[in-house]
Symmetry: C3
Amino acid sequence: MILDRLTRDLYAEICRIPLIDPHSHIDPRRSAARNLDDLLGYHYYTELAHSAGMSKELLGDVPPHPQPLSPPGARGDLHVSPRERVRAILEHMDRFDNTVQHSWFQEIARTFLGFRGERVTDQDCDALFDAAERVFGQANWEEQVLKKSNVEKIFLTNDFDEPLEGFDTKRYVPCLRTDDLVFHLDKPATRERLAKATGIDATDCARLRQAVGKLFEHFANKNAKACAISLPPNFVPHPVEDEALSACLSKLHEQQDDGASKAQCSAGVFWMLAEFCRDCRLPFDLMIGVNRRVYRDGVHQGQDLFDQRTSLIQYAELFNAFPEVTFPISVLTSVQNQELVSYSWIFPNVVTNGHWWYSNIPDFIERDARARLQAVPKTKQIGYYSDAYKLEFILPKYNMYRRILAKILADDFVRPGVFAERQALELGRLLLRENAMRVFSVE
Amino acid sequence: MILDRLTRDLYAEICRIPLIDPHSHIDPRRSAARNLDDLLGYHYYTELAHSAGMSKELLGDVPPHPQPLSPPGARGDLHVSPRERVRAILEHMDRFDNTVQHSWFQEIARTFLGFRGERVTDQDCDALFDAAERVFGQANWEEQVLKKSNVEKIFLTNDFDEPLEGFDTKRYVPCLRTDDLVFHLDKPATRERLAKATGIDATDCARLRQAVGKLFEHFANKNAKACAISLPPNFVPHPVEDEALSACLSKLHEQQDDGASKAQCSAGVFWMLAEFCRDCRLPFDLMIGVNRRVYRDGVHQGQDLFDQRTSLIQYAELFNAFPEVTFPISVLTSVQNQELVSYSWIFPNVVTNGHWWYSNIPDFIERDARARLQAVPKTKQIGYYSDAYKLEFILPKYNMYRRILAKILADDFVRPGVFAERQALELGRLLLRENAMRVFSVE
Amino acid sequence: MILDRLTRDLYAEICRIPLIDPHSHIDPRRSAARNLDDLLGYHYYTELAHSAGMSKELLGDVPPHPQPLSPPGARGDLHVSPRERVRAILEHMDRFDNTVQHSWFQEIARTFLGFRGERVTDQDCDALFDAAERVFGQANWEEQVLKKSNVEKIFLTNDFDEPLEGFDTKRYVPCLRTDDLVFHLDKPATRERLAKATGIDATDCARLRQAVGKLFEHFANKNAKACAISLPPNFVPHPVEDEALSACLSKLHEQQDDGASKAQCSAGVFWMLAEFCRDCRLPFDLMIGVNRRVYRDGVHQGQDLFDQRTSLIQYAELFNAFPEVTFPISVLTSVQNQELVSYSWIFPNVVTNGHWWYSNIPDFIERDARARLQAVPKTKQIGYYSDAYKLEFILPKYNMYRRILAKILADDFVRPGVFAERQALELGRLLLRENAMRVFSVE
């Protein structure tokens, strides 16, 4: 509910801009939810419920050997039915009904499931679960959600060995996610996947380059528009000589990693990816600042945190070395936003990208977006991405952002006379659509 | 003065919630002020006056050998009378009458001393001093202040060797403060105090464990509800093997500290305290980020500052190792608030705690509280504590917090339709009372 | 445009306070702009245009060997005329017309050049360029700008070997800038300049002290009121023994720098400067946090960025060692503002100073100024400085600050009843004028 008229008008107009969502975890073959468990199984709900006191066993979420990067949806299932899992979360929801994550669910229930009560409680479990099965089971549900959400294109997060087949890559735009290549090449399983995907056993630098080249070729052929990676706070990119990289790869293959080899290998592969981004004219999305598995007994995907002590100065050599590559940058903390503002203001190839994860809450979004709008060229800002696993989350998350954007446009631009309303809406259009189209070369 | 009606109504209602104040430095046998010097001797006033140009000599505050953790109230007295000390501070107060700390005193003068002027100046010194002697001298003054402040329980900060006798531990709840044990066991005086308090000479790990066990037993018997410690920004908890800890203790006893032994000993004792918290089911209050004696010539208690470069990642192993222990966390800087928000959102045993010291000013409180309310389960937030040395400060400090809280509840919850007023007030009740009661198991 | 009446009134009154601008890069012999290129050649415009996609060649800005500290205005000129350079920037300006830097230019065009359109576009290039030549060519233009900007004194940034002659040092107050002495004494050119300016070949510590003493004497004779330096984030001041400093100087002179010598030399010279500040009773302006030449191919003066991981704890020894020296501190990031607030609140000799460079945008100014006003004695805050290269920028930059200041005074002081309007204006007077006069001893 927006009380101020100008802001409300701007919001209404902004909502009419068809979205380009430049980062999500949507599975294009199961893009919409099939039941309520698909929504409340989202890690935001499981981790908040668990943090507020819910046992993980109620989720069936006790994998014997949790993997740092297990595929979305993977959960050790101790015979907990979807309905019971939903009930468990709803029973704990009143402990976190103050949070913005809760408000997303509330908006989904209202918009898509016809919920009319003041707020969802565990009393609503069966009625909502049944409503969801009915509604989500409609043949054209995916189309309905996309239309209601006014989203035109959605970028995916694809493992390097995905076939990228069986879906419309104009709507669901592939994106090569490279965490495994950079940080898990020491694992035989990763190397086997790479070998299987490319037919090349990447035992030295030359062969690795050949293999990675095949991946880029494959992705480019499938309309991929970005390469992406998430990075720990202490990562410092630097080039590695071919010979040195070969030596490290050899050590990894012989399982003789001494830690240093793995780190050196990460640096070398990362730099190689930047070279391919340059040669294939792909932007390289950097999502900076996450430490994996900090809370080791956390729920699936609810284990990662961070160290605020990180700096974009770590990336200065990269930005200098690849002037032809555009780097859309996500930072995990609002603390680092001023660095992002300043680096985007100075480096032509650095672009601000969305409001990521722990910074994707209204207070941080407002501060961060406001500073960016005051000091970064408007053509260099990608306003927002949903990071969603299911289509239904695009609407409430973007609405949260659009409300804030409307407020900033009203308070900082229209009212002080900096922009007329028309110009403010053009700025909104850049942030929500046109900058993403230009930066990622989508039409 | 709150101009907006909804906020004013919420504030009025919030003020009716009886407070649990979960952290103070109140001396339960001299809880209320006896004269104006007891109030203006608070380090906030002496340090601001000194920073603004007042010589320390006017305070009589030139101890020949200042101690890092000397007891509250200890000041080298160069024959400066309480009235003259008050006069000196009042004479410099117009240099910092813009500060929120000044507004606390102004509110005390108005609420408790009948001051009616526009603002206190040095002209008011004698009248106020006399009024204070008269008012504070009333037989039931302590009861009057408690009633007017609407505070039910106040947590103390007790040295490990305090007898904890002569006061009502249901009202003044003991709390075991452990800075000395963790950081000053290298000092013979600390070891002697420990030996005297427990009858055990803690020359090795086993004996130390026995001694600390006695302290916990003593405190538990006296209704203690928390263990607490303040920590420097570079502290990284980790377990220490018994044998290694014994070796370090031995070196300390033999005065052969090589620096490393002291640090190792700190880590080992800290970890041992966490084990006792687990076994005795006591929350462990961590107050993170303070460097002691940075400004070495500062006034008493006005010497400590910080290094913003610290991270909760340093505590990840602790939080993982002690899932049964609740850690109410105070961070010294607003910069670290996003870490606190995120760690509390993920770790079930991490709870946000108040607005500490250099972050206890309205701008930081508002930012920090807003982010917490948007992303941390509402049951995991302890809204505020007074940190007061005298009862009279509870009222103005809590009023400052309650005004901000009322504003956030109005702007972020009630007006946008997230919560009805009733629900917003229930949230206020959790923050000001119920979460503290549940987390610290007080009835 | 300020919509709220109280704020507007406060703003109007604040604007009547004659300014002391305590930091600029004005050349007193060419203080006002001569043409539009002098304004749009300001690095804020060239770097934003370049960041938004403009080739540096359009600026004629491709110096073959860019120097880290080349004098203002030095640009490799590839035969690009001032008018064409202006046109190039205006053609790219619609890419950054959202920024506050753009709004400064817009305000200059409106105030000084009679521009009446909605916003400046490349269509206005010739008309504006011609208007500027006409207006700026008036004989008394400098006086007109000073009067319209209501500025009384402007501090300069003077290289150590400047003669400081040919201008009114009461109006344009000299300030000894010492970056070269501290960070570039390894360069023969710097040593030659020092030798030439002082007649002393500073080959050892004693001779260096003699030479620096001559510089201070010269500057003091020319009415200099401050010593100033910008410092990288990792700089940690500490004293260096005379003998050790001599050894380092000797290595630098013999071109046998091993890195360590240079760093040691920087520390030693910096400490020596603090000693001279003490002896000559000059404040020492520290501008903390900039890394030079991070974006190596950036436009002139558009190459510097930072590492947010820095702390004022690095300066604790300095503040302790020189209680007689006032240190007006600028921090490059808003992240570090809480440290600045806290250190100024505790250390008598630490004073907050303006809103520097990457923090000189409204959102950061508002946050930073608000926190300072809530917790730092009002006599210890220097509100703002222009950092301008041309007089015309003083007005729009100060107006930006004054609007924010008026808003904070209205919202945080007058409306809540903390200050009457009269007192709020007195506070404004301290921030804009009187504190600078007192701290820097100007009359």
